[in-house]
């Protein structure tokens, strides 16, 4: 059974993702204080939006593919049912990866909130903030990879600058 990929938001999201790239690069060079806090706030909001977009793409894409498998008129009922269940099983792996990313993102936001609540803005807090941000990159990459395996193309979030020295 071949299911044609139909949900590909990256093109329309590109202007936003360019903004994320700029923001991430800015975060690397940022030190501490209000300016760095503002940069991280922007990144957090943008990642929040990217996560929302990913959730919609995953749920919509999975439903479309699973239903297409269930409706496939070229196979028997049993075969269609089995195919649909296979699609859902693959979708579950994507969902698990998305949950891992969103959980890590919430830790990042919690640390951001901790910085806000600390009037002294300790440098170590910003170091931890940058480390948490860098840790989001492989999780999103894993999410995007397993989603792409299913034909669901998530917005590209260019985390590369985070890993730069």
């Amino acid at each position: 059974m071949h299911v044609r990929p139909q949900f590909s938001p990256p093109a329309v999201l590109m202007p936003i993702l360019v903004g994320i790239a700029v923001a991430l690069a800015s975060a690397l060079s940022s030190g501490c204080g209000a300016s760095a806090l503002q940069t991280h706030a922007r990144i957090a909001v943008m990642l929040h939006g990217a996560n929302d977009a990913a959730v919609r793409a995953i749920e919509t894409g999975c439903e479309h593919r699973a239903v297409a498998a269930a409706r496939d008129p070229d196979v028997s009922y049993d075969e269609a049912s089995a195919n649909a269940q296979r699609v859902l099983a693959r979708c579950q792996r994507v969902v698990d990866a998305q949950h891992a990313f969103s959980a890590a993102y919430e830790v990042y936001v919690a640390q951001l909130l901790a910085v806000v609540d600390d009037d002294n803005h300790q440098p170590s807090a910003f170091t931890r903030l940058r480390a948490l941000l860098a840790g989001l990159a492989p999780l999103y990459a894993d999410l995007a990879r397993v989603a792409a395996d299913l034909g669901i193309h998530l917005p590209t979030v260019p985390f590369a600058p985070v890993g730069a020295p």
Binding site: Q6, F7, P9, V12, L13, M14, P15, I16, V18, G19, V22, A23, S26, A34, L37, Q38, A41, R42, A44, V45, M46, H48, G49, N51, D52, A53, A54, V55, R56, A57, I58, E59, T60, C62, E63, A66, V67, A69, A70, R71, S76, Y77, A80, A84, Q85, L88, C91, Q92, V94, V95, Q98, S102, A103, Y105, E106, V109, A110, L112, L113, V116
Partner: protein
């Protein structure tokens, strides 16, 4: 990110929204993407609109109160069950129900 860069970013998003509006009749996928972009646009605009430290802190506090969305397959599973039940070769016992 400078204010000019932010303005350019927002202009790019606005252009995308305009283009989407023009082709919105093209199919359901475009219609699904549109609110996603619009939502992101509003989110960015919210933060871009904040300037003072207190405003940034408020934005962060608001963000922390909003749990990140988790995908789930409940709708997909229900849709599959419905699609299978609607098949002409659906099992008789399912049809009788």
């Amino acid at each position: 990110m400078s204010r000019d860069a932010v303005k350019n970013l927002l202009a790019g998003v606005a252009t995308s929204l305009d283009q989407l509006a023009l082709v919105d009749a093209g199919g359901p996928n475009v219609a699904r993407v549109f609110p996603v972009v619009a939502e992101l646009f509003r989110a960015i605009a919210t933060v871009v609109g904040t300037h003072g430290v207190e405003a940034v802190q408020k934005a962060i506090r608001d963000l922390a109160k909003t749990p990140a969305k988790r995908a789930n397959l409940e709708n997909a599973e229900a849709a599959v069950a419905s699609a299978l039940a609607d098949r002409e070769d659906a099992l008789p016992e399912l049809v009788l129900k």
